[in-house]
């Protein structure tokens, strides 16, 4: 049975005169935990942006559940969630309002309105914030007043609350101390294994730099200069692979 959830066919992306992604072919299967490795500027963020449909490739096709992005409706598209490297939170909203933004897709306009007026329920937001080890005294604090690590966890909570099938994370462990990294890593990956709820993220792709975190991943993809250099099982990863990309 074909269980491919995301597929890139001959993807290239050009920005001005620079070729950021160069003829990438990639298949991501349901339930896979993939680590994306590569130097800064190798094209990891662009690849994630192509995978979640934020940027359109100059060439090639992206398929989600065997359908091209153009064919998908809003509900289907919302099955992908992203933790951005630069977090992309709304600075003027509070932490809980930002987390509640993750629920916008499954609610109507009135919910968005209530969220901005601070009169919506934050029960679910608080649950995920607690899971991300955020203390309740920061719930109603504006984003700009939070530390780097707190902002990082708010962004993670906003993605997790979407309970999407596919989670893309671009360096989600930035700004976190070692203890928090373990907690957050388990939080991002645990749902995949235990399949706690129907809506829990089943497929995870994480761009990262720390090689000591690779143990919990099934596959490792190495990218350099916009090209995939290797796409292998984690157990097969050798020093030679890493030398190719770093």
């Amino acid at each position: 049975m074909n269980n491919t959830v995301l597929e890139l066919e001959n993807i290239s992306y050009k920005y001005k005169n620079d070729l950021i992604l160069n003829k990438i072919n990639l298949k991501i299967n349901s339930g896979e935990k993939i680590a994306l490795l590569g130097k800064s500027g190798s094209g990891k963020t662009t690849l994630i942006s192509v995978l979640n449909g934020t940027i359109k490739p100059t060439q090639g096709e992206v398929k989600l559940f065997n359908k091209s992005f153009e064919e998908l409706d809003r509900k289907q598209k919302s099955k992908i969630t992203t933790i951005w490297q630069d977090l992309r939170l709304i600075e003027d909203l509070s932490a809980e309002q930002n987390v509640n933004c993750g629920l916008l897709a499954e609610n109507n306009f009135y919910f968005a309105f209530k969220n901005l007026l601070n009169i919506s329920s934050f029960k679910k937001a608080h649950k995920y914030m607690k899971l991300c080890r955020l203390h309740n005294f920061i719930y109603d604090k504006k984003i700009r007043k939070l530390s780097g690590g707190q902002k990082q966890r708010v962004a993670i909570a906003r993605s997790l609350i979407q309970e999407s099938n596919i989670l893309l994370a671009d360096e989600p462990f930035n700004n976190l101390d070692p203890k928090l990294i373990t907690t957050i890593k388990n939080l991002l990956l645990e749902n995949v294994d235990k399949n706690k709820t129907k809506k829990s993220p089943k497929t995870v792709l994480v761009a990262l730099h720390r090689l000591d975190l690779l143990n919990d991943f099934d596959k490792v993809i190495g990218i350099r200069d916009g090209k995939i250099f290797f796409n292998i099982k984690r157990n097969n990863l050798k020093k030679i692979h890493l030398e190719k990309i770093y």
Binding site: K77, D92, C101, A112, L117
Partner: protein, 500 residues
């Protein structure tokens, strides 16, 4: 020989050179017939008329001005926000609508904005007759367009990455739009609302000078009867009103986390929209078009405007704008720099406040007591009034600026004026010039007011054409006005962009 190098600081002072031709013409036009009147005008400022009768009149007239100012502010700020959303690129990105539509909307609003509220007022008065609501409508038309521009510009500052992130959540489009624009709209209202309220009150006063009612009409009548003591009673009461409205507005905290307050604002928002639409419909269907029966009037009316005269008027309007802008840019830093001590500063601040407070037609009429009507006099009036506004901004920015450079320079024994210039003003010059570029847009529009009173430029021609119901001429003058204002805005936009 070293080449002359211009920087932002020197560019701030250079426009003062306009004072050479301006001063020459003013000296040639001086007359001594009205010096006594001018003296009387100044003395009356310290001895305004205060009795029961005038206090009752002041309250009644101020009440009218507040009503016109407040309602025009409320309607224009709300509709400005709504149209601001429709003319911002974020709306078109979220809904995937072709962006040429927003270019068309913006161009249409630029035309509306280019015509001063006084011109709208005079035109509407000619069509509908003198009416209290004409004042509100005349202010609302250009103000909605101005506010739209401000809100749209603020919405364009939304971080594109926030847009991508909300868009990626794949929420309903209206939810995404609301989430993204909510805070920029609230912040614009907080930062810009008070200033627009002050502007609305000033505009209501100026329209009053042209017969709409309120304190402006009383000011004009007392000036016509040379009753300067009464005139100053009205001016001081207006000053109190502006200061008080500023203080009250500062006290109100727009706390968006206060649920009751938020709901109150939303109710006011929707009620204003509902009321405005109902009133608009009522106004359209229940008014007799006294002097303007149909669009065909445009073609039936006579056109006595010679091409040469018309081009001369256009040129006069452009020169008037340039001279006034020169004064408005350079006079404040020059005066503040020369008289750089605390007691003088207080005096300059009071003088600048008076220049902002006294409506331009009244300044012009006062100056006419000892100078013949001329382009230079009109330019001086407009320049002084706007210098009052630019100096307020300069003072505010200088007050909050880090003064360490200035203190360090003074401690090195550098003269106080040089330290002020290089240690304080030079750091402000760039942003000051950027604001002046924006201000010069307004000066172009304001040439209409001094033109009407001072027999200069297109403003004067507009008044003449309207008085004789020559609608074709009116249309041509308005097109010329709009064209000058639009070209001016484009040039100033380029200057502003290069400065920010």
């Amino acid at each position: 020989m070293n080449k002359l190098k211009l920087n932002y600081t020197s560019l701030s002072f250079l426009p003062i050179l306009v004072c050479i031709p301006l001063g020459y013409q003013l000296i040639n036009n001086i007359h001594f017939g009205g010096f006594k009147l001018f003296q009387e005008f100044l003395i009356s400022a310290f001895n305004p008329k205060i009795d029961n009768e005038i206090i009752i009149t002041v309250i009644k007239r101020l009440n009218e001005t507040i009503l016109i100012g407040f309602f025009s502010w409320l309607v224009s700020i709300i509709f400005g926000a709504i149209f601001g959303i429709f003319s911002s690129n974020i709306f078109y990105k979220i809904f995937n609508i072709p962006s040429f539509i927003y270019v068309i909307i913006r161009f249409f609003l630029t035309i509306i904005r280019s015509i001063h509220e006084v011109v709208w007022g005079i035109i509407l008065m000619q069509i509908y007759g003198i009416n209290f609501s004409i004042g509100i409508i005349a202010i609302c038309i250009p103000y909605i367009a101005v506010n739209t521009k401000v809100f749209a510009e603020q919405l364009e500052t939304i971080d594109y990455k926030s847009f991508e992130s909300i868009n990626q959540i794949n929420a309903p489009k209206f939810s995404s739009l609301l989430t993204l624009i909510w805070n920029p709209i609230i912040n614009t209202f907080k930062n810009f609302g008070l200033y627009r309220l002050e502007c609305s009150i000033r505009s209501a006063v100026i329209l009053g000078l042209f017969g709409i009612g309120g304190i402006g009409t009383s000011i004009f009548l007392s000036f016509q009867t040379l009753n300067f003591r009464e005139l100053w009673t009205y001016l001081w009461s207006l000053a109190i009103l502006i200061i008080l409205s500023g203080l009250i507005f500062k006290k109100i905290k727009f706390n968006t986390t206060n649920k009751i307050l938020s709901i109150f604002f939303i109710v006011v928002f929707f009620l204003t929209i509902l009321f405005s639409f109902s009133y608009f419909l009522y106004f359209i269907f229940n008014n007799n078009f006294e002097n303007f029966n149909s669009v065909s009037s445009l073609f039936k009316s006579s056109l006595d405007l010679g091409l040469f005269d018309f081009l001369k008027l256009i040129l006069e309007t452009i020169i008037l704008s340039l001279l006034s802008t020169g004064i408005a840019i350079s006079l404040p830093p020059l005066v503040i720099g020369i008289f750089n001590n605390n007691s003088f500063k207080i005096f300059i601040k009071i003088f600048a406040f008076l220049l902002r407070l006294i409506p331009t037609p009244v300044i012009l009429l006062t100056l006419l007591t000892f100078n013949n009507p001329s382009l230079s006099l009109a330019a001086l009036t407009l320049g002084l009034h706007n210098a009052g506004i630019t100096s307020k901004l300069l003072f505010t920015n200088l007050d909050i600026q880090d003064k360490r450079n200035y203190i360090a320079m003074k401690s090195l024994g550098i003269p106080k004026k040089t330290s002020w210039l290089l240690g304080l003003f030079s750091q402000q010059a760039k942003s000051y010039l950027a604001y002046c570029a924006y201000r010069s847009d307004i000066i172009i529009r304001e040439t209409a007011i001094v033109g009407v009173i001072g027999s200069v430029g297109l403003g004067w021609q507009l008044q003449e054409s309207l008085s004789s119901f020559a609608w074709q001429e009116v249309a041509i003058v308005l097109i010329a006005y709009s064209s000058i204002a639009i070209v001016g805005e484009l040039i100033n936009g380029k200057i502003k962009n290069s400065l920010t």
